[in-house]
């Protein structure tokens, strides 16, 4: 019977073309939008992990309570031992030190004047340590607009918009003024080794990037760090694993009442990131729900129109003695086949567009000129195996439900009035 119905679908284009287009379009939109949103939100999460939070982060308890203020006076001390402990207990992670600090950057002009000055968002990472993987993690090689990555102490990278604002170029000297961990005045002179497009407008406008050991020296943080970031192997965030790591680590320090004892947080503990991760997870479910709801209504309507068009055909089939249940069943089989054809077409189109978007993306850097939050300047889709069924199954289900609803009318036909209706 399937073969018979399939032939009917192919031969009677009026019966199948519109539903196939509707299903294909719905499936395509579901896949393309779901892939795009997952990609966009996933990029934001990954970018935040690389620049700010890591997959897990170790801080002192006091620092964690005031993390937004970059309170280096509350920094972690005794980090050599802490690293040994982390590497032994959680070898699946790569542990790196980071110090975030604030201050003023001054570009000296002639005769003790300033040619440019501005508040700086300082970031110290393990630039000189090859094993840290920080240069690759921050994608610094590809983000360099001029100069080179710092190779020796006293060199700094500058966000390219910050460099433009200060009027400095590669090789120029800068004076940094800030506070040490103990609150003393910190003065230091840096040479600009290069300018970088971080891909985040907020960072491009005010970030100075230096090596971790330089920051330790300037800020009087010997054997100390603001944060220790942990990145899971292959740099992929695994939320459940991160939570397990956090619980195991924090259990060791649960009874330690020292406010400077270490505490671990996961990326999802950051309130904004938790929300994004929740969104990433719920985006697919949200789309499927909306898709099934809208498509069922649309296909119910399409089914009704088809039912009206085939009113006479059903009448003749009933008059010839075919059972109502049989007609209803063939109609559902037909819907199933049309749903499958439409879903295959829609899935193929959706996956193709998603893969193209994953490769090329949409450059929105022009729209981020005044942005103050960290977000990627190229929006990309993300292909996941989930996309292969996220539209397909709902596409078929919506078509079947739509036709089931529309086909109920068959049972309302009275055999006694059929001949009158058919004007025989």
């Amino acid at each position: 019977m399937i073969k018979f119905i399939f032939k009917a679908i192919l031969r009677d284009k009026n019966r199948s073309l519109l539903p196939v287009i509707v299903v294909a379009l719905g499936v395509f939109l579901t896949i393309a939008l779901s892939g795009y949103l997952s990609g966009m939100l996933g990029d934001m999460v990954e970018q935040t992990a690389r620049f700010q939070t890591g997959h897990v982060k170790v801080m002192s308890k006091a620092y964690a309570d005031n993390v937004d203020q970059m309170p280096n006076d509350l920094a972690l001390l005794g980090i050599y031992e802490l690293h040994e402990e982390l590497n032994a207990d959680f070898p699946d992670y790569k542990w790196v030190n980071r110090i975030n600090f604030g201050g003023i950057i001054d570009a000296p002009g002639e005769n003790n004047t300033s040619k440019g000055q501005g508040p700086a968002m300082g970031m110290a990472i393990e630039l000189f340590s090859k094993s840290s993987g920080e240069v690759a993690r921050m994608n610094l090689e590809n983000s360099l607009l001029s100069g080179k990555i710092p190779e020796k102490s006293g060199e700094a990278l500058l966000g390219y918009e910050f460099a433009n604002k200060l009027g400095v170029k590669v090789g120029d000297e800068l004076t940094f003024m800030g506070s040490t961990m103990n609150g003393s005045m910190a003065f230091s002179v840096f040479k600009v080794s290069g300018t970088v497009r971080f891909g985040s407008s907020a960072m491009d406008k005010g970030t100075v990037l230096i090596d971790f050991t330089d920051a330790q020296q300037i800020l009087d943080m010997e054997d100390g760090t603001g944060e220790i970031l942990g990145f899971y192997k292959d740099e992929i965030f695994m939320q459940e694993h991160a939570v397990e790591t956090k619980v195991a680590f924090n259990a060791k320090y649960a009874i330690d009442t020292d406010e400077f004892a270490p505490i671990m947080k996961t990326l999802a503990d950051n309130s904004a990131m938790g929300m994004y991760l929740g969104l990433v997870d719920s985006v697919a479910g949200m789309f499927v729900f909306i898709f099934i709801l809208i498509m069922s209504i649309v296909l119910w309507n399409t089914g009704l129109i088809g039912g009206l068009r085939r009113y006479q055909e059903f009448g003749i089939r009933l008059a010839l003695g075919e059972e109502k249940g049989h007609i209803y069943k063939t109609m559902i089989y037909e819907a199933l086949l049309i749903g499958i054809i439409g879903s295959v077409v829609g899935t193929a189109l959706g996956v193709t567009v998603t893969l193209l978007m994953q490769t090329y993306g949409i450059d929105i850097s022009g729209m981020l000129k005044d942005a103050t939050m960290m977000m990627p300047s190229v929006l990309k889709s993300k292909f996941t195996p989930q996309l292969l069924y996220i539209g397909f199954i709902p596409g078929v289900i919506a078509m079947v439900i739509g036709n089931m609803l529309a086909g109920i009318g068959i049972y309302k036909r009275e055999t006694a009035t059929l001949f009158k209706e058919l004007e025989v």
Binding site: Q117, T180, F260
Partner: protein
């Protein structure tokens, strides 16, 4: 109608008398606190969560537009100098042999992790030049009777839009201050203690500044030595003195 006019005039007169009274109080406060020149040796005690630090400095001031300070201890800060001329501030660091000029919103940054901003350190204008005042009550602080004055900025460049000042009714010295932003948010609190008579004027020799946006016990400013109207050589208030 006649009664209403009399009532209105009475209310206006009371308000005017209150304002005049407040200005008279502020004039006496200014007379105690301000002088033509001053040389102050002081300790700034900064209370941190981990430890406390004491920074010793000597400051020279002339009128309300010139001041110069040099940090004497600890070793890490020794030789750091600040010069203020009008609205400009220069900071010299001996370790880098660099001078940085600060201006605009940079002056709102904290000085050496303390609860004072550069703007707070620089501010030595008379209160009567910057604020309109009225007496809003009376309170007892540490056993001393005080007038509570509400000060509202009458100039655009005042560091704080409004202040509440508790002034000792006998010695005309502020014992407490609350500093507010334009939004009405309380930004800083100061407690002034150890009031001593120096050169015929009452002067608080211990001031605790508390930045209300920060945790902690605040910063103490302790006057070790003070000379009013002393002769200060002109070169002190020049940029050349920064590198001397």
């Amino acid at each position: 109608m006649k009664h209403l006019i009399i009532l209105l005039l009475s209310v206006l007169s009371v308000k005017q008398i209150q304002a005049q009274h407040a200005i008279a109080i502020l004039n006496k406060v200014d007379a105690n606190i301000n002088s033509k020149t001053s040389i102050i040796k002081s300790d700034m005690i900064i209370y941190g969560r981990r430890n406390s630090r004491t920074i010793t400095s000597i400051g020279y001031a002339e009128g309300n537009s010139k001041s110069f300070s040099e940090y004497l201890a600890p070793e890490r800060e020794k030789g750091t100098k600040m010069l203020k001329l009008e609205n400009n501030l220069w900071i010299y660091s001996p370790s880098t042999d660099r001078t940085i000029q600060l201006s605009g919103h940079m002056l709102k940054q904290s000085v050496m992790g303390s609860d004072l901003s550069y703007e707070d350190m620089m501010e030595n204008r008379k209160l009567t030049e910057m604020y309109n005042a009225k007496v809003v009550g009376e309170e007892i602080i540490d056993g001393r009777k005080t007038w509570v004055l509400q000060l509202n900025a009458k100039v655009d460049d005042a560091s704080y839009d409004s202040r509440k000042v508790w002034v000792d009714t006998e010695r005309y010295v502020p014992l407490r201050e609350e500093l507010y932003a334009k939004s009405g948010q309380l930004l800083k609190k100061t407690e002034l203690k150890d009031v001593k008579k120096i050169d015929g004027r009452w002067y608080p020799t211990k001031i605790n500044y508390k930045d209300m946006l920060k945790d902690g016990k605040g910063t103490d400013f302790v006057v070790l030595e003070i000379k009013f109207n002393a002769e200060i050589p002109l070169y002190i208030f020049s940029k050349a003195s920064l590198k001397k």
